[in-house]
């Protein structure tokens, strides 16, 4: 239960006690709300007293009579607006004056309650205001969270982009000053490291492009029949130079489901990322098994490696943007930290999900499950 404070500012005691009586047993429910709202009524007999109570109690809603003994209702409203109080004001008016209504609306009144009002009229006004307040709060909260996420993303991104530049700049500076000697050979390690950092930066930029594509492009128009076996082979070919270097073998098992309807780019992103990870985090002489299977409702893709594996804590964070597992075994593996977050986004576009099971030093199994048929799903989803 959440409680909202309602401040009634009216010089007629009957109105104040009436409001208090009606709202005492009233509560508002709304399909999206976590909890019901109830009301506590505060009473003020004048505008001056109303302001005093408002400053002290921070009410959520104010029911404001316009005709008051001293300070007028519209003046109270002006005060509220100047002070930027987070309060919703509804004017109680005994006669419909267009002038006052216009002025009051300009000054931030959100509702008008005619006087005299029936309990039902009061309740429906309060219900409206409560829903409005609730939505305003939720939107505000979401905005804040959205901003925070974007902000974190940018600061990490700037870090990831600048770190390689700093490293390469440092090596160039050393060469320029001939810090390590006069021969090119003296700088062989520096040159190798610079090239590696450049490659890492290129990968990050490519991943970023994928990332923005997944976030902003409409995928519906590009949906076509995609051959999964071909997509898997293409990804294996892409990673094969690295696989040969690490002596990693591939096996592809097609149990069912050779084709699905999807944007071929999306399928490529899924296969490329998961297959290259399975090689990257594998051991020398290891194996990668890709399985494609489905039943009537779902497509299953599994990517199994015999690599270094992960702890439970590591499994919990790997789908987050820029999360990279940093330890002794991953020290020399380069990655942008974006790959799995991109895959997760793509899979979500198809209303699917991705999971991981892993044992340290044994290996990891990534499973992608996508509901079928995808064409309808994707149309509904975007």
């Amino acid at each position: 239960m959440a409680q909202l404070k309602v401040l009634v500012v009216d010089d007629e005691p009957g109105i104040r006690s009436g409001v208090a009586r009606i709202l005492k047993t009233f509560h508002v429910t709304y399909p999206f709300m976590d909890e019901d709202y109830t009301y506590e009524v505060l009473e003020a007999a004048s505008g001056e007293e109303g302001i005093e109570i408002m400053e002290r109690e921070n009410p959520d809603i104010m029911l404001l009579d316009n005709k008051l003994p001293g300070m007028q209702g519209v003046e109270v409203l002006e005060y509220v607006r100047h002070k930027n109080h987070n309060i919703v004001v509804a004017m109680i008016t005994s006669y419909a004056s267009v002038d006052i209504a216009v002025k009051a609306t300009n000054d931030g009144a959100t509702d008008f309650i005619p006087k005299p009002f029936t309990p039902q009229e009061l309740k429906s006004s309060i219900e409206q205001i409560t829903k409005q307040q609730y939505l305003k709060r939720i939107t505000h909260k979401l905005d804040e969270e959205g901003k925070k996420i974007r902000y974190q993303f940018l600061s990490v991104l700037s870090h990831e982009l600048k770190a390689p530049l700093n490293a390469i700049e440092g090596y160039m500076q050393m060469m320029k000053e001939r810090q390590l000697g006069n021969l090119v050979d003296d700088y062989a390690p520096s040159i190798d490291r610079s090239l590696q950092r450049i490659q890492g930066m290129r990968n990050l930029i490519m991943d970023l492009l994928d990332f923005t594509k997944v976030s902003f492009e409409k995928h519906v128009e590009k949906v076509q029949e995609v051959n999964l076996e071909e997509a898997a082979s293409a990804a294996i070919v892409t990673v094969s130079p690295y696989a040969i270097q690490k002596d990693v073998q591939f096996e592809t098992k097609i149990l069912n489901c050779k084709k699905i309807w999807a944007d071929p780019n999306d399928i490529e992103i899924i296969f490329n990322n998961l297959i290259s990870n399975a090689v990257k985090y594998n051991k020398k002489g290891g194996k990668v098994t890709v399985t494609i299977d489905c039943n009537d409702n779902e497509l299953f893709l599994t990517f199994e490696d015999t690599g270094i594996g992960m702890s439970q804590e590591e499994q919990d964070i790997i789908f987050e943007e820029f999360s990279r597992i940093k330890n002794e075994k991953t020290r020399n593996i380069s990655g942008s930290g974006l790959g799995l977050s991109i895959v997760k986004k793509v899979v979500a576009l198809y209303h699917g999900l991705i999971t991981v099971e892993s044992t340290i030093d044994k290996g990891s199994i990534f499973t992608v499950i996508i509901p079928l048929p995808q064409v309808q799903n994707i149309n509904n989803g975007l």
């Binding site: 902000y151 600061s155 870090h159 600048k162 700093n166 440092g170 490291r193 940093k326 020290r331």
Partner: protein, 131 residues
């Protein structure tokens, strides 16, 4: 007259930056203890008291540098610390050590953006070591 050799603990998870900084500091005559993680830095701190420390901000976690500053100051309150990072103004992430409030929670003596020239770094170290 014997010239004292000062020891510098440098923690940075970027192996290239670590190599470059260590190179210049050794060349300038310091003894360098170079580590690649917050964890290693903490291990070193339990055994050795460096004369000065330079910590990267983001290592295993986004605030590794802050944690190390705090832990070093608790153990060796008199040892000066430099906090270095590549994150900077473009992102709106600004902090320094200019205000009282910032000094209260950032337990570092100096905040440096990465990419300062080696001579400048040496100058700052000398200032902090009062040599």
């Amino acid at each position: 007259m014997d010239k004292k050799v000062y020891s510098v603990l440098v923690a940075d998870d970027d192996p290239d930056y670590l190599y470059q900084v260590s190179y210049y500091l050794r060349k300038a005559g310091y003894e360098v203890i170079a580590v690649e993680s917050q964890k290693e830095a903490e291990q070193v701190m339990t055994k050795t008291r460096p004369d000065i420390a330079i910590f990267d901000l983001m290592m295993e976690s986004d605030d590794s540098g802050f944690i190390l500053c705090y832990k070093l100051k608790r153990r060796y309150p008199e040892v000066p610390v430099i906090l270095a990072t590549a994150v900077s103004r473009e992102t709106g992430l600004t902090f320094g050590l200019s205000s009282e409030q910032e000094r209260e929670w950032i337990k570092a003596d100096l905040y440096l953006e990465k990419g300062v020239r080696p001579e400048q770094l040496n100058q700052e170290i000398k200032k902090l070591l009062k040599i």
